[in-house]
């Protein structure tokens, strides 16, 4: 929340009397504050402008820095019948967020000090200069004023405990700027009364008015879309992590000459049953468990054989010729694999090149569509396929084409290209997976060849050895089988560990899916509907109260959630309202924002400034209704009203207000008076 405690303006002049410091000093209270005078030219607006200026929000008034302020701050100040030149000027604003009090100092005219510089004293105004106080210099209106640590608006945001949402702009996403928000709270006199949010500076924020209303009354819509973004990011993370593990599994399997089946490349919710459907199989299409059992059996079988060469000479001879045959077969197969791999690699290369061309064509064609649209909006006839000379329709082509041959539109062309792109991508991927398979097969063949050759060698040496020696072949075979079993066991263990992490991911995938399902699919939560309903009913209640007359039927008034601005029969309310009713709309809307925020726990800072709300032919009784509705707000909000008491009726009604209900700051003939020697 924001509360304005005190404003102290100092204007140093060349009047030598009493030091020549003119100024204004007033304290503000909770609830209603009047800055009142009997004439209209005494500088109420200057005082209100100073508040806005100190908060660095002068873009609401219409510009940056001191340019927007009145001449009393910058050039000359009047005192009775004399005018004095302004030498230096600046203002202190003491504000509070309910817990802490700080004083903001900003110069208006001072040599050697940039008006963009803001000093924040971490104490109340009285303490400045009396004791050692902490202060910090910050800056405004430069890039980063809203986000940088030394940016004043960034400081103000955290001081006011506002968590400004990040919103879409014409460029990057930006924070919803304070200037935009406060244009719905501070209605200054010059053009604040033209329309709702008419003081809002243009900062490139998409749907800025809507975003401000959403923020002030605390709608979730933005929160929900943020939440959706977060979940989407999480989802992508799971997908990429999943893919990483899958490729690790494949790597492990490849190293052991195995393949893994029954596992999806994309994340899915996996049950235990689905887990048991994941198989690791060896190169000859057996599951790894079967393979291990088989190897164990072979191991036992060999062990039972006679260990002496002499005992199985014939057997060895037979085996050797078989092995030699197998080696020959494998070598042939290996050559075939290599040949296929070369073909596939060439195909991938060619397809990649074509894809590059298609991609470039696609990009250029997309450009062509855009350029056509740009031309059409610039009023070019050629962009709508009409000849600028004869006004006949023409084909969109610079080539000589037979007269009756139709030409594809650019959009058709793009569809055509996209089709081609899809085919090429499919082609590339299929060849790539083929290459991968071939590598696995080749690795396996190579390994088998090595073992078989070794085996053949040992058999040969066995055959030529003395008959009574121990068979080397058998020992060799046993060692071989044992290594193979160990390898398979290793693969099995590692894959199962990876599958454990896949199961974990699958669980978080499920949670993510559930969270997604929980989000309201229309992006409007029931609570938001309630908030909008309250906002609308507050707005209409206010309109009735302030005697809005332009609409015959209040039921036709609505605040649709997609714009958050009031309409009547679907049209902007302003067009159907008289000038004074337009003022009532602004009163009602500004008040309804605060009322709704209080009722529904929104983010309104709890302060409103109305400068001269009695515009046009507003009658005193309506002003009384406004004042009354302000007094009904709870104590924690603050309303500052600049008001001219130029008729007796209004004067009486304000004097009638009970003591203590409103703080009346009376300004005499002029707001800025000569300070006495103590600076008061």
């Amino acid at each position: 929340m924001l509360k304005i405690n005190r404003l102290h303006i100092e204007i140093k002049t060349d009047n030598l009397h009493q030091g020549g410091i003119y100024g204004f000093d007033a304290s503000f209270t909770d609830g209603l504050n009047f800055i009142a005078s009997s004439e209209n030219t005494s500088g109420k607006s200057s005082v209100i402008e100073a508040i806005i200026y100190c908060l660095g929000l002068e873009q609401i008034i219409g510009g940056k820095n001191e340019h927007v302020l009145t001449s009393a701050y910058k050039t000359q100040i009047k005192d009775e019948d004399k005018t004095w030149n302004v030498l230096e000027s600046g203002a202190f604003l003491e504000i509070s967020n309910g817990k802490e009090v700080v004083t903001i100092f900003r110069t208006i005219v001072k040599d050697g000090r940039d008006p963009r510089l803001v000093t924040v004293y971490k104490c109340d105004y009285e303490s400045i200069g009396k004791m050692r106080v902490d202060y910090e210099d910050m800056y405004l209106h430069d890039g980063g004023a809203a986000t940088n640590e030394r940016g004043f608006h960034n400081y103000l945001e955290s001081f006011l405990q506002l968590k400004l949402p990040v919103v879409q702009t014409s460029g990057n996403d930006q924070k919803l700027y304070l200037q935009t928000i406060f244009s719905g709270l501070f209605i200054e006199q010059k053009h604040g009364w033209a329309d709702i949010f008419s003081g809002m500076p243009y900062l490139g924020i998409k749907d800025a008015k809507k975003r401000v209303v959403e923020f002030l009354i605390g709608l979730d819509t933005y929160k929900i879309s943020k939440e959706r973004d977060k979940l989407r990011a999480e989802k992508n993370e799971i997908i990429s992590e999943w893919k990483k593990i899958i490729s690790e599994i494949n790597q492990i399997a490849n190293m052991g000459s195995c393949t893994v089946s029954g596992i999806s490349v994309h994340p899915q919710i996996m049950s235990e049953k689905e887990r048991s459907n994941i198989f690791v199989s060896t190169i000859n299409k057996k599951t790894i468990d079967e393979a291990i059992v088989e190897l164990n059996r072979a191991h036992d079988f060999i062990k039972r054989r006679q260990p002496k060469v002499v005992d199985n000479f014939d057997e060895l001879n037979e085996e050797l010729s078989e092995i030699e045959k197998t080696i020959e077969e494998l070598e042939k197969k290996y050559g075939e694999c290599q040949y296929q791999e070369i073909i596939s690699k060439a195909a991938v290369e060619q397809a990649s090149r074509s894809l590059e061309i298609v991609n470039r064509d696609l990009r250029n064609n997309k450009d062509a569509v855009k350029l056509q649209k740009m031309g059409a909006t610039s009023g070019c006839q050629i962009s709508v396929n009409i000849c600028p000379v004869c006004n006949q329709s023409i084909q969109d082509s610079l080539l000589h084409i037979g007269q009756n041959v139709p030409v594809m539109s650019v959009e058709e062309n793009i569809r055509h290209l996209e089709g081609q792109k899809e085919i090429l991508e499919f082609d590339i991927n299929s060849h790539k997976s083929n290459i991968e398979n071939l590598t696995v097969i080749q690795n396996d063949i190579r390994e088998r060849l090595v073992t078989l050759r070794k085996l053949a060698q040992t058999i040969r040496s066995d055959l030529f050895s003395t008959e009574t020696e121990w068979s080397e072949t058998i020992v060799h075979k046993l060692v071989d089988i044992e290594t193979c079993i160990r390898k398979y066991e290793q693969v099995k263990l590692q894959v199962s560990m990876k599958i454990d992490s896949i199961m974990e991911l699958s669980a978080s995938w499920k949670i993510n899916k559930e969270e997604f399902a929980k989000l309201p699919n229309k992006s409007i939560s029931p609570l938001d509907l309630e908030r909008m309903g309250t906002f609308k009913s507050n707005f209409i209640k206010n309109l009735r109260r302030y005697k809005y007359k332009s609409a015959p039927d209040f039921y036709a008034i609505d605040i649709p959630i997609d714009t958050c601005l009031p309409t009547i029969d679907g049209f902007d309310m302003k067009f159907d309202s008289s000038a004074s009713d337009n003022i009532r709309i602004i009163w009602s809307f500004t008040m309804a924002l605060l009322q709704t925020s209080i009722e529904m726990n929104g983010n309104h800072p709890g302060v409103i400034i109305f400068d001269e709300p009695a515009q046009h032919s507003i009658v005193t009784s309506d002003m009384e209704s406004l004042i009354k509705s302000v007094l009904e707000l709870n104590d924690s909000s603050q309303v500052i009203m600049g008001i001219t008491l130029n008729n007796e009726e209004l004067k009486n009604s304000i004097e009638k207000l009970q003591r203590g209900t409103a703080n009346i700051i009376e300004i005499g003939e002029r707001a800025f008076t000569l300070f006495n020697a103590n600076g008061i």
């Binding site: 350029l371 600028p388 023409i394 139709p406």
Partner: protein, 157 residues
């Protein structure tokens, strides 16, 4: 038998390369005039052809850039009749004007179109970079000298 039936063949629509789309080429020409010529002097037809052709291929653009910057050998230029046709369309549609020296300058309408193209950061991205690199380096003087050189070299008596 077949004489009793009429067989009608409907032509399938022909695909047209982007480079031969009217609005694409016209917009490209406007962008070239805007980005590579000085103020009101405009862009000569030869220069327009050179740049427009260079934009269609990376290699030629690289050659043209080194010709413009470092006096290297000029690239071969293909004079594409499509460019002439596009220029006619652009003139007819009031996007460009022909000055009395025969050079092309942008009209106000053309300038608004170019402004739109330049503001959109997603369109003609690579082309804009190339044109910016080329910017105003390729003066008509250089092109004129080049054609004079060729003329004296290859002219037959």
């Amino acid at each position: 038998m077949i004489n009793n039936y009429e067989v009608i063949f409907d032509a399938k629509p022909d695909a047209v390369p982007y480079n031969y789309r009217i609005s694409y080429k016209v917009s490209q020409i406007c962008l070239i005039i805007d980005m590579t010529s000085w103020g009101k002097t405009g862009c000569s037809p030869i220069k327009l052809h050179m740049i427009s052709f260079a934009l269609s291929s990376k290699e030629i653009m690289d050659k043209l850039l080194s010709f413009a910057h470092e006096n290297a050998e000029p690239p071969l230029i293909r004079f594409d009749p499509a460019v002439n046709k596009a220029v006619s369309f652009a003139i007819a549609d009031g996007l460009i004007l022909q000055s009395n020296k025969g050079k092309y300058v942008l009209s106000d309408k053309g300038k608004t179109l170019v402004k739109k193209i330049k503001e959109d950061t997603q369109v003609l991205v690579a082309e804009k970079i190339d044109l910016k690199n080329l910017s105003k380096k390729l003066s008509d003087e250089r092109i004129k000298k080049l054609s004079e050189l060729w003329r004296s070299k290859y002219a037959e008596n």
